[in-house]
Amino acid sequence: MNQDTWTLGGHTFHSRFILGSGKYDLNLIKASVEQGGAEIITLALRRVNTRPEENILDYIPEGVTLLPNTSGARNAEEAVRLARLAREMGCGDFVKVEIMHDSKYLLPDNYETVKATKILADEGFIVMPYMYPDLNAARDMVAAGAACIMPLASPIGSNKGLATKTFIQILIDEIDLPIIVDAGIGRPSQACEAMEMGAAAIMANTAIATAGDIPAMAGAFRKAIEAGRSAYLSGLGRVLDRGASASDPLTGFLHD
């Protein structure tokens, strides 16, 4: 049994892979959760129309923690409204606060996110703010009552990887909350690298949703995240500034 757990708002998790559920067939969710080993899955909230439709909750295996997001919110007020509606569904107190009003780059508004985090944390939500990796704003999120920090690696859905690597490392080093790298992670190797840096978990959606074999890619992410975590816990070997260092004994050569 994996004893390397982490906690979020008093809840303990073993898996460090948070799976998104957008942009792929509902029929693949169960297999992706299982192959990815995910214990948390994100959801969005939208208007219902009266046509009979499938219920995504029927496709999510029991025991998986639901993490509603506030996508579609353009300011703190709208995010708070969405979070309250999500909680009314009876799925718990988790919420990923996501606020954006820039439709080209979809960058989160850190200022509005701090405001929403404060209101929701005061109402007892376990607030997981998605943000641009800025140390000052992250400190404000902590003061506002965030349960973790979710910095973006690169623009949402871009699969470009750790474009903000240096700044995510600063958050990992300076913020005393789990840092969950969210958005932009496109490949298992990038997820692994973020975990080697000391991230607490990885959230991915598009990397999985746009893969050839979706559940298999979820499985690849699981392995990469576990490898990166083990590497972090092991302590990475040092890097030489210059020169080389033989791995073999420097005595007993045949020509001696």
Partner: protein, 65 residues
């Protein structure tokens, strides 16, 4: 007339939230309802009457990141 999810709906004022959802064929899945900006808890759907001009939002979970 009331407004539901941004669209006008005739002959629904006077109904309770529960009656409205039932009569308009909303799928029986996990829903959340807001009337005039306030959440109506599921337990209050039967007793909350939609007044003329009410603005109603009915939401559910969908796939998302």
């Amino acid at each position: 007339m009331i407004t539901v999810n941004g669209e006008s709906v005739q002959n629904a004022d006077g109904m309770s939230v529960a009656e409205f959802l039932e009569s308009h064929g909303y799928p029986k899945m996990m829903l959340a309802v807001e009337v005039d900006g306030r959440i109506v808890p599921r337990a209050a759907w039967g007793e909350t009457v939609l007044k003329e001009g009410a603005v109603v939002e009915v939401v559910r979970f969908v796939g998302g990141g």
